[in-house]
């Protein structure tokens, strides 16, 4: 067919399709995959942010006073943060079914 006379020329003339825009949770709440949940003991936390660095999910955010907060909607419970915490201030607790 090609772009001959009367063929579509702009984005608007194309047949309707879905344009994707980036978003958090593009495949749903991945937190439902979790078997055990990391819980931070803020009394021991030194705010070194290593848990934030090593989180594969990027679901650890920082509060105003720099303390890390875990977003349980997306945390898959891999346990890297608990393993790498130099102060051992993150504990993995089994999820209740």
């Amino acid at each position: 067919m090609g772009l001959g006379r009367g063929a579509s020329r702009g984005l608007r003339d194309l047949p309707p399709t879905i344009l994707s825009s980036p978003k958090v949770g593009s495949v749903g709440r991945t937190g439902s995959w979790r078997l055990s949940r990391p819980v931070i003991n803020y009394d021991r936390c030194t705010k070194c942010l290593l848990c934030w660095i090593y989180c594969p999910e990027g679901c650890i955010s920082r509060a105003e006073d720099e303390k890390p907060i875990i977003d349980y909607d997306y945390c898959k419970g891999c346990g890297i943060c608990a393993k790498e915490c130099p102060m051992d201030s993150i504990l993995m607790e089994m999820e209740e079914v």
Binding site: E66, C78, I80
Partner: protein, 319 residues
């Protein structure tokens, strides 16, 4: 090249997260950490291109995407060709005065299948033509996306579904292809290896790669809990062990001159720190068949290959 900046955890934390959480990568995925950290090194407007691979299928399930940067997916073999095309298009736009940015970073991410085996001719061509882009190889040492088949990057003795460990064959019979040396032989301005365990080293190397004038290549080890058969919390521990046992030494090569990075340099200066390769192997289920009487000789063979490559690297770095 001289660099005055230094990345700290807080400084990196100020940067926006360019890969949105809620993607479909496995729990404890090493490649996810590598992508997050490398994307922290960008200088401004960036375009990322991916061939087929784990990260492509998990972050861009039609019609959704986790990427907060413009992102292009093409066929398995074309990561470098695609990056070269994007860079050439920007050059043409700039020549006509139609580019509103001073500079656009072009990055190609590819797995070991898309680099060692399928994508090597496109990579070689793009390196030879000298396009200005950063190629990041996240190496999980097999085709993990399709179910753990062997690739050119799979190490000696590793179990995969296409090199199964039986009574006669001890996993993969060949050592992995030295892809970094192949890239160095192209005479590109910047080649480096990195590990997510040494995160600052990784981010700084990614930045150096972006600032290099011409093609840059970054080889990053990305442990895979599914394919390597280990508990998901040990991803960082294993990527650290790979450096400490010299299975995956960290170095950079600027304009053909090799230089060891700090974690490996410490081992080079104090050989007592070098751990035996057994510690790395016994942490992974894919090597578990080697700890039987009939295949114990393979461990010695692996140690020999690792020692030889380490010795050759030390000679290149003149340590």
């Amino acid at each position: 090249m001289s660099f005055t900046w230094k990345f700290t955890a807080r400084e990196i934390a100020e940067k926006p997260e360019l890969l949105a959480p809620g993607h479909r990568m496995c729990s404890g995925c090493g490649a996810a950490i590598v992508h997050r950290l490398v994307l922290k090194a960008v200088r401004g407007p960036t375009i990322v291109t991916h061939p087929t691979g784990c990260v492509e299928v998990t972050t861009a399930i039609y019609p959704y995407t986790s990427w907060r940067v413009p992102w292009v997916h093409t066929a398995f073999e074309t990561a470098a060709a695609n990056a070269a095309g994007i860079e050439a298009a920007f050059k043409a736009l700039r020549r006509r005065g139609r580019l509103k940015y001073d500079h656009v970073d072009v990055m190609a991410f590819a797995g070991d299948g898309g680099t060692y085996d399928i994508g090597i001719q496109a990579l070689s061509g793009a390196l030879e033509r000298g396009h200005d882009f950063l190629y990041v190889l996240y190496d999980n040492e097999a085709y993990m996306n399709t179910g753990i088949q062997r690739s050119g990057g799979t190490p000696l003795g590793a179990w995969t579904t296409t090199t199964p460990a039986g009574t006669k064959i001890p996993g993969k019979p060949e050592p992995r292809k030295p892809i970094e040396d192949i890239v160095v032989a192209h005479g590109v301005p910047y080649v480096a290896t990195a590990s997510p365990a040494h995160w600052m080293d990784l981010v700084v190397k990614a930045r150096k790669g972006l600032e290099a004038k011409g093609p840059a290549f970054l080889h990053v080890i990305a442990p895979c809990p599914r394919g390597w058969r280990y508990e998901s919390s040990k991803t960082i521990e294993l990527s650290r062990l790979a450096v400490e046992t010299c299975v995956f030494p960290l170095w950079e090569c600027v304009d053909g001159e090799h230089k060891l990075s700090a974690p490996s340099k410490a081992i080079a200066l104090k050989p007592d720190l070098k751990k035996p390769v057994v510690e790395y192997l016994k942490a992974q289920g894919r090597f578990s068949h080697l700890f039987t009487p009939e295949f114990e000789r393979v461990i010695d063979e692996i140690q020999r290959v690792v020692d030889k490559r380490w010795y050759l690297l030390l000679k290149k770095c003149s340590v």
